[in-house]
Symmetry: C2
Subunit: 283 residues, 2 copies
């Protein structure tokens, strides 16, 4: 039986009586198969599972989709119930940010090497908003484990920085991207897409796989592999690529052809106004 | 037996095995009777007692006494041993602030109504430094209770704001000021004073009591009571008063003669270069 909890005081009260280790799964709701894989991994490692649902205004830019972000608490509760989540913590914005001036004065600012690259180039302050909200929920809940999806790869690096910087006693676990049969990574924003557009969106993953294949084969240097994938994507006029980059696995630094580490190809692109991201590990 | 612990990893390891509730007593070392009263109060309420000793560079101004601040770890350990403290956590600066750029980007900024009054007027960024270090130790240790002396009254209000703002699961306890037989409040900085200067310094408390007496008697309005105390202090040329103010007990706002709440008289003064603070509750 999943309990819905709205107030900080109530979540603290139930946590005080709950078995440890305690798992936290931060979400903005609109739960999909990717979230379910986080829940299932958490279930295998922890005794108490809290999913929080909070559409965090701080991580949306002024022209982004904060007000339209898909919300369906009843459906999310059902998903949590089916997956034996103990508590869904879904506070109002005022509960988490009662004094917005204090919040703005005390935003967490991750290092620019992590926050101002990739999605940070176009989503100004996005990762500061992410780090700030995650830190606030960590402060309130003090989880032993916290679970994040690898689709939001840059976010994962930000969270790992956060935990290291503040020496937080939480273990960050990540789970592989979950994909639809077409290869399209699950995302709450897929709800904005028609069936046709979702098929087109699956080309992002095809482009990532193409680059990985070209890199593995050793025929192409990285830049050439990226170029080939961009040419492939140019056949879909609906897709506006924002970035397609190779980044080092250790720290998301730029990678060169002689890299000894593993790395990722990462892509962000828009279909209509819908911004999608995806990534693939190489080799 | 008190254990001395230097690293974050070690303190986390012992905390994981320690009985709850866990008490944290933040200090800058040079422990005195005021700290001992905090330890004894903590002992009466908690099962595990951690005293941290950390002279926090962030809370000292460029012309303040950071480099001379009295340090005597051996004596502090003995004090903790005698008072059955479980752990003394005395990390190096690098252990708490490994990346000073990240620390500076992520300073905690309390509201100006609390941080820019009283001591904050002359000690720029002092309370930001205090809030930042306390938050970092709270992050690391996750105490159930934390103990602070009422001599540093403004600091206490800052800490209470911090806990409320970030919804921290820690109970802040305060303990009354402990005084030498002369009435001088115990402070690590008293070590800078000669015996004669300590006698003169006791006049600060006499001036506070004078103001309280004049207020209680109802003869004087607040401003007149403060004026009388300043005239009394003017007989000690060694004492340079920085402020002598009346502040509301609920929020340290300015108080007027028709106040319904209790309030405090607070004083800061220098004797030579030694800055001392004290306060008294009224009525």
């Amino acid at each position: 039986m999943t309990s819905l909890i709205k107030s900080i005081q109530d979540i603290k009260n139930v946590i005080a009586k709950s078995a440890k280790p305690l798992a936290l799964i931060p979400t903005m709701g609109s739960l999909h198969a990717g979230h379910i894989s986080l829940i299932q991994t958490a279930k295998s490692e922890c005794k108490t599972i809290i999913v929080y649902i909070f559409v965090n205004p701080l991580q949306f830019g002024p022209n982004e989709d904060f007000s339209e972000y898909p919300k369906d608490l009843a459906s999310d509760l059902k998903t949590c119930e089916e997956n034996n989540v103990d508590f869904v913590f879904a506070p109002e914005i005022n509960e988490i940010y009662p004094d917005i001036e204090s919040v703005k004065r005390n935003l967490i600012t991750p290092p620019c090497e992590l926050a101002d690259i990739l999605c940070g180039k176009t989503r100004e302050n996005h990762f500061s908003g992410v780090a700030t909200v995650i830190k606030r929920f960590f402060d309130i809940i003090e989880p032993d484990f916290a679970y994040f999806g690898e689709k939001d790869l840059q976010q994962l690096y930000i969270i790992k920085w956060l935990v290291k910087e503040f020496n937080l006693p939480v273990t960050v676990q990540s789970c592989p991207i979950v994909r639809e049969h077409t290869g399209l990574a699950y995302s709450s924003r897929n709800k904005y897409l028609s069936a046709d557009e979702k098929n087109i969106a699956a080309s992002l993953y095809k482009a990532l796989k193409l680059a990985r294949g070209n890199t593995r084969s050793g025929i192409f240097p990285l830049n050439k592999a990226i170029l080939e994938s961009l040419i492939f994507l140019s056949h879909f006029p609906e897709i506006k690529v924002e970035y397609f980059e190779a980044k080092d696995k250790t720290n998301l630094a730029n990678v060169h052809n002689d890299t000894k580490h593993g790395f990722y190809y990462l892509i962000a692109a828009k279909i209509k106004k819908v911004r999608l991201i995806d990534n693939i590990e190489v080799p």
